[in-house]
Symmetry: C2
Subunit: 316 residues, 2 copies
């Protein structure tokens, strides 16, 4: 990244920060015109969220003065929002817990916060709302954890082709293979061709394409195409690098294999190259066996085209 690009990027983020500071309304010290200050509500939230936390836990999480917190807590106790349970193993500390009343307050605050959010989304279309949600999740996911790995729970797997899916499959193949193996435009063209060919005989009852979605983006995909006489081809198996190592490949393969079993296919095969090592591991784990390897010059690369086959267990 050039110096200049970095500068504009930082300027953008700074603007986002300022904008979002306004948006959050963090300026008001009284949250939603309640009798509680922002700090007080943060303490309440912290107690609610981390059950069985101590004063020190809160102090560290929120970085507030110990004396100040002590007084806040005494006040909460007096008002019947919080209750202290002395720790048996340490006579100095106490667990903190919200009383029913404290929980009710939390719920009310969440209600108000939700209303604020609804207002913020009020002028937007359903699609725009979805986009806002996805973009925020994306930011959170990238900034939160070092390395910014999404979790498998964030990924939804569905099947059936929706508008845009065909293009998205091609796009992701083109981008990932270009980045990882320097395949050129010819590869994306080849994928386009294979999809075009597939669509001419696409039969939703016998063919199935699964798409893994995360934060509104295509994270990975797999497909099973029937080839007649109990045979099927596995195609377009790919996980975007950002989503690898979280078990998504296995999850998709599982879906595909379950489908093959349900369809009572006798044999499944697939074509790949010797370069796709990660995928090969998953193929072998699923029971595929390499049956052929022929040298080819494809998409500007010298590769071995490989064939994998899987005999499906028949009978019940």
């Amino acid at each position: 990244m050039t110096q200049e690009q970095e500068a504009t990027m930082i300027a953008n983020i700074r603007q986002f920060n300022r904008f979002y500071t306004m948006q959050l309304g963090l300026l008001q010290q009284h949250v939603f015109d309640s009798e509680y200050s922002l700090t007080e509500m943060r303490v309440i939230y912290e107690i609610h969220f981390n059950h069985q936390t101590t004063a020190t836990g809160i102090r560290e999480a929120l970085n507030i003065d110990a004396g100040y917190l002590s007084r806040l807590l005494r006040n909460f106790e007096k008002k019947g929002l919080v209750i202290k349970h002395p720790l048996p193993e340490d006579g100095r500390s106490s667990y903190l817990q919200l009383t029913a009343r404290g929980k009710k307050l939390m719920a009310q605050m969440n209600e108000l916060s939700d209303m604020q959010i609804r207002q913020m989304l009020a002028d937007l279309s359903v699609e725009q709302r979805r986009q806002v949600g996805h973009a925020m999740n994306k930011v959170r996911c990238l900034l939160k954890m070092p390395g910014g790995r999404p979790r498998l729970e964030d990924v939804e797997i569905r099947h059936g082709l929706q508008p845009g899916d065909i293009g998205d499959i091609i796009r992701v193949h083109g981008q990932v293979y270009a980045e990882e193996y320097q395949y050129d435009l010819r590869f994306e063209q080849y994928v386009t061709e294979t999809l075009h060919e597939f669509l001419q005989t696409y039969n939703p009852a016998k063919d199935r394409v699964w798409l893994a979605n995360c934060f509104g983006e295509l994270a990975g995909m797999i497909a099973i195409i029937h080839k007649g006489r109990g045979r099927a081809q596995l195609r377009w198996f790919l996980i975007r690098p950002e989503f690898r190592g979280i078990g998504l490949g296995r999850a998709l393969m599982q879906e595909a294999m379950d489908f093959c079993r349900a369809q009572r296919f006798r044999e499944v095969y697939l074509l790949t190259t010797n370069q796709q090592q990660t995928a090969a591991g998953i193929y072998l784990k699923a029971g595929f066996v390499k049956t052929a390897s022929t040298p080819e010059h494809l998409w500007g690369q010298d590769v071995y085209e490989e064939r994998y086959e899987l005999k499906m267990p028949t009978g019940s």
Copy 2:
């Protein structure tokens, strides 16, 4: 959107809000350990940003008490950060302006803010940083202005096919036409076919595809394909609905026409249907003339397929 979907979306946004509140460090009352409080810095920023603003302007923008602000301003004046220029037309008010010293403080604060942002991005790859920036811009763009319209300045137009572009073109066509005209999968398949066909004879010297990018997303596209004997076809002209009405269509058409002139094409034609009214307006404006209209049943719709032609002015 179902009730449940709305609930998870709101929960997501609430989580983002909490997360980003932490991220911003808005909890500290002293900005970057400086001697100035958050409120003070916001006042300074407001004066810097809205030149020639008055105390009331700031009061309204930041929603702070008039008396409090009055004292803050007197203090800034005493410290030589701000200077008041009495308004000639109103003896009660004064313009507020940052002195050189005040501006220097602003610059220092920006510097610190930039450092904070750099730290926040420190563990991320270049691509991840880009994604953070795009996602934030997207959020800002969607939430900021009613309707969430991006501006033409936010859009970059480039030409030449990068990895993923082919798929992206197909994807956007599939999604937009499905949403707007209920075209089904067959349409996306058709687009896939046209692109596949095009790629077989693609010659970067004579054919050109332009892509308009905004916040890392494809906003619109257009292409010119040479057909021999001084003729060319205009294809895949499409602007995503979110990016319409900002002059992007005209900008792309301009690029295409400039290229046609430079290539000295004598005639440009295109095929469309009677349903694409918005595009038709741009075709006519660019000098195209409708030369044919034949009823067809395409992609699950009864439409008229229309042909437009443009005779390019020849000679110098």
